[in-house]
């Protein structure tokens, strides 16, 4: 394309002191990688205590132990994925909000730290253990503060609690994801710290906690998605998937937590795996959705932010994993052989 004959004048175009979207995306990517590396590094540097000889742990794993380990991996990864979703999504959405309030930086920053803390599980009981626990609880607290800010944003916009503001104002569900990630992390931490000869009942309790968290979070996320897909007029039938499958999973998980019955496990597992898949499928759809905006990905400085938000759907995978972790734990029984 030709440059105009009248060239822009020699005056420098004073940009507002704000980073561009390119640097922002790069920053989010770097933050993610740094968090992952930090978490894993911490985990390697603080391996679980060695088992004293003669302890039950010195023998080959029981089914219960296998289940516990799997559950810990899943809840840890699930919370990390959830935190990643918060990091990228809040990073972008707060950017769209111009970071006009300095506290808005807290969301992506806390999410990054939460990724690291989650991936650091299992951490040692002493030292790193206490810090990790604090980080998880702090993440949840930051999420709660965020909820309060988002609610205030809704109320203070012209029109108050109107549909216009619900659709286009600060989303209430988003800080909830950070709360959830923090609380899941706290449970993961408790799971990691549990003595290896801890009773099965403790594992089942962790299972119920994870189930409760996943259930509530799945319903909350469903509500958020329902609102935003409703805003999009459900223009594509696939938009109904994330408001039907997750509630099904949540209901199933809640019921199973209340009345665990091994016969339900296969079906519930499949539903939860479907929720996991939704996270990936949804991401694909959102990428296509951005491409469908005017100018597609080439116009990404507008379209990536106009939506649909690409980092949002993967949070379902985080919750699905957490639900699967709950499933692993709910039926743990020391006496049950492999």
């Amino acid at each position: 394309m030709m440059a105009p004959t009248v060239l822009p004048s020699a005056r420098t175009d004073r940009r507002p002191k704000r980073i561009g979207i390119g640097p922002l995306m790069t920053g989010l990517g770097l933050a993610t990688m740094a968090a992952i590396l930090a978490g894993r590094q911490f985990r390697q540097a603080t391996p679980p205590r060695p088992h004293p000889p003669g302890s039950p742990r010195a023998h080959p794993d029981t089914a219960a132990e296998e289940a516990r380990r799997r559950a810990l991996r899943r809840s840890r990864d699930g919370a990390a994925i959830l935190s990643f979703s918060v990091l990228a999504d809040s990073g972008m959405e707060h950017y769209r909000g111009g970071y006009y309030h300095k506290t808005m930086y807290a969301a992506p920053a806390t999410a990054a730290v939460s990724i690291a803390a989650n991936l650091a599980e299992p951490g040692r009981r002493s030292g790193g253990g206490g810090a990790l626990s604090a980080v998880h609880l702090a993440s949840a607290a930051v999420g709660l503060v965020g909820l309060r800010y988002h609610l205030h944003n809704l109320r203070s916009r012209d029109g108050g609690l109107s549909w216009n503001n619900l659709f286009y104002g600060a989303p209430l569900g988003a800080p909830g994801a950070l709360v959830t990630a923090g609380l899941i992390g706290a449970v993961s931490h408790a799971m990691a710290r549990a003595d290896h000869d801890a009773p099965a009942a403790l594992s089942r309790r962790h299972g119920r906690q994870l189930a409760a968290l996943s259930t509530v979070a799945l319903m909350g996320e469903t509500a958020e998605v329902a609102l935003l897909h409703f805003r999009g007029a459900f223009h594509n039938p696939a938009m109904f998937l994330p408001v039907t499958v997750p509630p099904l999973a949540a209901a199933g998980l809640a019921y199973h937590a209340w009345r665990p019955d091994p016969a339900h496990r296969p079906a519930l597992r499949r539903v939860l795996q479907a929720v996991n898949a939704l996270g990936l499928v949804g991401t694909g759809f959102h990428v296509l959705g951005v491409a469908r905006n005017m100018g597609g990905w080439r116009n990404w400085s507008q379209t990536a932010l106009q939506g649909p938000p690409v980092p949002a759907p993967i949070s379902f995978t985080g919750l699905g994993l957490t639900g699967l972790a709950a499933l692993d734990l709910l039926n743990v029984d020391e006496e049950t052989p492999r």
């Binding site: 394309m1 822009p8 175009d13 940009r15 507002p16």
Partner: protein
């Protein structure tokens, strides 16, 4: 109040995003043509000079020695007259648009000759302004020249309107008011009060509108 104009957006130029998704091919095509008008050929030279002087009174561009090059206005009006272009409305008692221009410019010259013995474009700027203000109020002196052409209607609905429409559709006019400029395929994201996109003008410096010029 001083008579100079200082834009509240001194650093802003809508052309700075020429190579971004805010511009599409056809917009660049159009703007490349806009800065390069055809040579004037509809009006005689002296009348054309009056047109230029009129344009300069309406938008005193040439005073800004530091600003961007002036937006061509008079050549485009000449081209429209040559092409017989109208606005779609011919008010009762007025001639068609090209004729209205010709007669109106001649009438401005007649006013200037009546008052100062010179055509409009040779008269000092303040006197030109005075003539325009009078015409705007309908207080004309060279009544014969205005026959069949209502002075207020000519000034407001033909002359001023078309001149400012050309100026403020041009990057220079757009930039000085902090308008966002071309916007396709990339439009705007941040629609709320006090919120701007990176590809818009930064916040305005409003004291520049108030301070007297140095």
């Amino acid at each position: 109040m001083s008579d100079t104009f200082r834009s509240p957006y001194p650093g802003w130029d809508v052309l700075s995003k020429w190579s971004t998704p805010s511009y599409n091919e056809q917009t660049r095509e159009v703007l490349n043509r806009r800065i390069d008008p055809p040579a004037p050929h509809a009006l005689e030279r002296e009348v054309y000079r009056t047109l230029c002087a009129l344009c300069e009174r309406v938008i005193p561009q040439h005073e800004d020695t530091q600003g961007p090059p002036p937006a061509p206005i008079a050549p485009w009006i000449d081209a429209a007259i040559a092409g017989g272009r109208s606005s779609g409305t011919r008010y009762d008692g007025m001639p068609d648009t090209p004729t209205a221009w010709r007669r109106g410019l001649a009438a401005l010259d007649a006013e200037a000759r009546q008052r100062h013995g010179q055509p409009f474009h040779r008269v000092p700027a303040q006197a030109q302004d005075a003539i325009l203000r009078d015409v705007g109020k309908g207080q004309v002196k060279a009544t014969a020249a205005w026959e069949g052409l209502e002075p207020r209607t000519f000034l407001r609905k033909v002359a001023l309107k078309q001149i400012v429409e050309i100026y403020y559709a041009h990057p220079r006019g757009q930039s000085e008011i902090g308008y966002g400029g071309p916007a396709s395929p990339r439009g705007y994201l941040r629609l709320g009060a006090g919120r701007t996109d990176e590809w818009e003008a930064p916040e305005g410096q409003w004291d520049r509108l108030r301070e007297p010029a140095r």
